[in-house]
Amino acid sequence: MKRANTFAVAALTAIGLAGAAVTATADDVVRIGTEGAYPPFNFTDSDGNLVGFEIDLAKAICAEMDVTCEFVAQDWDGIIPALLASRYDAIMAGMSITAEREEVVDFTNKYFQTPARFIAQDGSGITDTSPEALEGKVIGTQSATIHANFLEDQYEDADIRLYPTQDDANLDLASGRLDLVLADSSILAEWMDTDDGSCCNFVGGDYTDPEYFGEGVGVALRENDDALREKFNAAIASLQANGTVDRIAGEWFSYLND
């Protein structure tokens, strides 16, 4: 029995060394896992190519880090296990930074966040959405959401109405019962593309305070892969500073340009 064990170790070692010869030279390749089915973050076009905001951003980040990017597309369900098993080195798949995930992986700083925004009927004349300017206005949002918490904390002097679903709030805005609605801008943008939503448009700026709206979307890495995390953070910071992140996001999220 003992001899069998020794033999197994030796055999595995031999296979491993054969594998090592192939991969040891690939030091400056960063393999990025993504889902490939979550437009417009990352998806597959009808020609079978991976495309999307995160694919373009990853290429820019890898160029900034001076490494070669390789993409691996696989289902969301196995995406973290495969990272932990070193199938790839990083995940860029619209993954929000959450406390639960922080327990098994490390995140870089966020590279994207869908901001919360206000919408109002066209011609409402509202442009300033500060708490003082909205005193006495009727604002709706979905109850038990980060948006409801934000409104109740910051907009005490407004008349806040909470609805069981976001669609209920939106419809009351369309029918004139509400002056404004606050919600996730990507959800609102989708609604405003429908017939019901054609009445309305974004007013004011983005709200992204992490205290209310979470940490955004980041690159997930194996824990203790600090060197790589620092490289990612540095690249993300410089791409944010020179406007590349905003430019790429604008290409994929049309509502950001409104």
Partner: protein
């Protein structure tokens, strides 16, 4: 309607070639797994019939474990955990190296191991259905144990096992859809990607259904032919 069917075009604008590539991977995976799973199943069945008590125990434990584990878990274990352990082992010797088990290989091993567990029971049933007299007759004709097995027992065993194995083949064909979690683009994964982009779930799921049903039809033609062949020499009533 014509608009929907244009989504199935081959080439850069349609999903036809992607779906076909997925279907081809599904077929390849199932066909490569089959011989591996069959041999494993037969070996395990023979172990369960062995004289030595420990060999029987190994066969039984194997069946309990791999019939009991969800196949998704078996896939994860082989693709990720075995990979992880192999890497740890390799890195003890050469710290800067890594070792990769390809998704396809992991899929074949995982599906084959499960197929082996289930088919061993089918083989076992077939083995036990062959009268002991057949073995004794073979031996008394002067055939070696191996030749007795190959020439006398195996053809009869094969005939009895075929219907059960045909079932397991269809199960295997459909279980290939689990491999999308290990970065393989099988038919179902390609369908889901197409749905995500085109927002036409019913159309694409229907197409996938038809492709799987097509596989099933072809398979039953094949198993029927095999059964006819195996039944040669047996009187039909």
């Amino acid at each position: 309607m014509a608009e929907l069917f244009s989504l199935l075009a081959f080439g850069p604008d349609g999903w036809g070639d992607e779906l076909m590539a997925g279907a081809w991977l599904t077929i390849r995976l199932a066909l490569v797994t089959l011989p591996f799973g069959l041999m494993l199943g037969l070996a395990i069945a023979l172990m369960k019939e062995a004289d030595h008590r420990y060999i029987r125990a190994v066969g039984n434990v194997y069946t309990i474990v791999f019939r009991g584990l969800p196949e998704l878990l078996t896939l994860f274990v082989i693709y990720n955990m075995v990979q992880l352990m192999a890497n740890r082992l390799v890195q003890m010797v050469a710290p800067d190296s890594s070792f990769e088990i390809s998704g396809f290989a992991a899929g074949v091993v995982a599906l084959g191991v499960v197929f082996g567990a289930f088919s061993s029971e089918v083989f076992l049933g077939a083995i036990r259905a062959i009268p002991k007299g057949q073995t004794e007759a073979g031996r008394s004709l002067g055939l070696s144990p191996w030749k007795t097995f190959r020439l006398v027992r195996l053809p009869q065993l094969w005939r009895l096992a075929l219907p059960g194995l045909g079932n397991l083949w269809l199960v295997l064909l459909k279980d290939t859809s689990l491999v999308s979690v290990i970065a393989l683009n099988d038919l179902l994964r390609q369908t889901q990607v197409a749905v995500g982009v085109t927002k036409e779930p019913f159309f694409f799921y229907l197409i996938a259904c038809l492709i799987y049903l097509g596989f099933t039809l072809i398979s039953s033609v094949g198993t029927n032919a095999l059964e006819r062949q195996a039944n040669q020499g047996f009187a039909t009533r």
